[in-house]
Amino acid sequence: MKKIVFLISITLFTGAVSAQDKYFTKTGKIHFDATTPKSPESIDGVNKSSICVVDTKTGNIQFSLLMKGFEFERALMQEHFNENYVESNKYPKTEFKGTITNNTAVNYSKDGVYPVKVKGKLSMHGETKDIEADGKLTVKGGKISANADFPVTLADFKVTIPSLVADKVAKIAKITVDCQLEPLK
């Protein structure tokens, strides 16, 4: 009898504290900023429909977003971004597949802020490059916030900036990630 009670308790206890395996969102926010100090206006857009999936057991992390989903304040800037820079008709999607290299340091069952290092491959505009970034995972109430800032050299992805606007559009864009992840049931 004692053994049964013990086994049941262990099972319940494990169930109560163990985190879900996968967390995801389909409304992740990715902000793209290519403003230079000389630019008279900000060159930035935001995508609010990015997909992000994190596998807490393996540390695998994936992002997927549609380039046409980036919204800019000025319609002309959005059109130039799509037609001339990222050529979204030819290359509709950007993807990142990588891992959280210090995944074992993250306790997904305990509320807290965990600095993370992410390494993986970014595929954009028909090119794939290795990317490393620092970020943080905030575990709170059974949900995870994933935040990061990292630079992307546009030339690495064959995104060409015309010389006419070379002093307005930065050669290195700043990407900001802000995703609220929920358990995948």
Binding site: F24, K26, T27, K29, K48, S49, I51, V53, Q62, S64, L66, K68, G69, E71, F72, E73, R74, A75, L76, Q78, N82, S88, N89, P92, K93, Q180, L184
Partner: protein, 151 residues
């Protein structure tokens, strides 16, 4: 005298054209993305039809629907709201993981409260593309800057 008048008239026309071009240039440069409320839909579809089109031939469907205004009629599966109060209305069939995800134009967020789960709705938005089911989350057609159509 005639020559002077001709030169004067030509200069006048050039100045008027120049001002016209400058005004046009200024307006075009500062043009904001218009709300699509007043714009007619390029296509009116049911969720299954557009999802199937993308599943069967993503390249062809992206060419056909990408950047176009799509009006979708279907059942409201879910309404997501993010930390900034932006709504996404998920339209589709409850028996399928795949949906049409409509990211609502923030100017029309208040209209979302009128929607009911599992009730029919008509939404109109710009198609930004298709997310194929690569991560076990179902496939989605994504519409941006959506408005609810009172059809």
């Amino acid at each position: 005298m005639k020559k002077k008048k001709l030169i004067r008239n030509v200069l006048l026309v050039a100045v008027v054209l120049g001002i016209g071009a400058a005004i046009y240039g200024y307006k075009e440069f500062n043009r904001k993305s218009e709300s699509i409320t007043s714009k007619a839909a390029d296509f009116k579809v049911k969720p299954l039809d557009i999802i199937t089109a993308f599943t069967d031939d993503e390249k062809a469907a992206t060419l056909k629907y990408g950047g176009k205004i799509i009006q979708v009629a279907g059942l409201v599966k879910k309404v997501d709201k993010d930390e900034q109060g932006n709504f996404t209305v998920v339209i589709g069939d409850n028996s399928s993981l795949s949906s049409v995800r409509c990211s609502i134009d923030s100017l029309f967020s208040k209209d979302v409260t009128a929607l009911q789960l599992n009730a029919p709705a008509f939404l109109k938005g710009v198609c930004t593309g298709f997310n194929a089911d690569e991560m076990g989350l179902g496939s989605d057609v994504i519409l941006n800057r959506c408005v609810i159509v009172k059809d």
